[in-house]
Amino acid sequence: MTDTELATPSGSKKSRAERLSTIRKAWPWFFLILMVVVFAIISKNANNVNFLNYRSVQGILVYATQILLIGLAETIIIISGNGGIDLSVHYSLGLAAVVAAFVMRAMFAASLPPVLTIGTGFLAGILICIIPGWVNGTLVAKVKVPPFISTLGMGYVVYGIALLLSRGQAIADQPDYLAQIGNGNLLYYWPKHGFTFFKVPAGAAPADLQQIIPLIPNVVAITLLVTIAVWFILAKTQFGQHIYAIGGNIQASIRSGIPVASTLTRAYILAAILAGIAGVIWTARFTSGASNAGEPTLLFAIAAVVIGGTSMFGGEGSVVGTVIGALIIATIQYGLVVLGQQPYWQYVTVGVVVIIAVIVDQLGRALEHS
């Protein structure tokens, strides 16, 4: 295949650009594999810990959920272009966590049925985020305030409201079955006994628990479903294609009759809803709600988006890229934890990786156009 391409002189320049483009798009995959191999070797040699097992995979996936959900929100907004960025989603996450925790605590105290309690709590947390999303969208799309400023201002407001609601405290006293959702698994495998859904096998004695392999963490399954939904929306629906078009060229979009304002508003609402989902997942995982739940996530999420190859200039980017980006960040986080490093090394490493990623991206683009 390569030989024939090289043989035709007219096609050789194009194929070089195409190859470079392929390499540029594939490098996050290589980088992810590289990170895993590096951590496997270091942890084997330094701590004699086996990094390559299902526990690591699970750990990385669970770490990745929150980064991925906020990352998807940023992906949508950044693709919509024109300086698109949402600096309030991590605060919306905190607001959702606080509201969900409030509702569930109240309903649990009133001893209402578990399904109703969880359902209402989650729904309340997610739906409340529509408000900041709608305000952001309206400010950006209708009032034409730059996204950076409008979401910065909204971020302050949302954080203030979450603080006010929670009085700066973590909202504990959550239903005991909440942890089962947040930290439980979809599927358990007990060697020689078979699979069970949602619960540890009934007949297992405490000594047997060591053998039971938890297979798919619930939060990972939920995140996966949400990710597929976002992929579908961006890639397969008119709304998603409009977001790409607006990010690519807003003037052309207006002239070709795309409802720019309403599309942008809906994009910001969708981003806020994703933050809300991340928030209720946080509440389920830590069985409490806190206004600062999303605090460190924004840096990591934007890092994931950038590493995943989404252009900060808009119109270009993919859900798959952000998934890989989130996995790379989560691998770094989890790997450093396994190696027993202090959390701040995560910031250093992620910062360096982001800079490398943007330089590689920039050089790749320059080579393609040369």
Partner: protein, 329 residues
Amino acid sequence: MTNLMDRLRAMGEIPLVKMSAERIRRQWVDYSFLGAFFLLILVAASMSDVFFSGQNISNLLRQIVTNGLISLGMLVVILTGGIDLSVGSVVAFSAIVVSGMINKHLPLPIAIVIALSVGVLAGAFNGFMISRFKLQPFIVTLATVGTIRGLVYVYSETPITPLDQSFRTIFSTAIFGPFTLSILIMLAAFLVALFFINRTTAGRAIVAIGGNEEAVRLAGINVRRHIILAYIISGLCAALAGVLLASRLGIAQPSLGAGFELDAIAACVIGGATLGGGGGGGVLGTFGGVLTLGLINNLLNLFNVQSYYQQILKGVIILFAVLARRSNR
């Protein structure tokens, strides 16, 4: 022809008639902000008898020193069309370095110079990456937020208390009236910036880069060097703020300064700066923005309003300021 006019207008060389309506509107907004500001002071003074006390004025001014200096550096970067998110981490870095150096018994001036050079280095790195590789300022400085914060923790995981008492007293002793050395340093910085931006070639070039980078390049000005200079100024201002903050608090926490960049951006925006280039914003406006934010914090503290409301109010003021200054293009 129109292209050339655009370029020159962007460089602020030709005041066009077309601009005047917009300019008048902007001035109206400025005046109404000024009016609202004095109204706020009047209301404050009438409702609280301690507001005009020397102690409160001194507190207010000392509290705005940090945000004032950071905002000043941020303004210079915003004028080039960029943004510097790493200032909060630089504040922590310089605060902890100056405290560490003092505890290593280095003379005070040398410790301060080392801390300031840390800020210069961070700024130079940001500026180099942004101008050399044509990377987005938002991404580069977001990455250095984490990297510098990490380095702060590498330097010290625990808070450092500068043991030299003179480090604390030198900046906080009143020189005349409510003015301490730290306040005078901030005011001097604003005066220097006023002169730098309006009266020097480098300052004018930095403003022009934000308007039209390509035109500045064609005019034979070294754009890359001026962008690096802008980020160095921002790093230096943040480092100076870190030194003064360590002196005021008497302790340097490695977690210091988180979110400071947002307050600085807020002050610049309230002062009329436009993010992502396009002009607007000046030293006096930024000072107004800093004072407004400081005044609101001060008032809410005086009236014992919970700090949660400060967040909400800050957000609303930012949105209001942007809405008022929005051009009708």
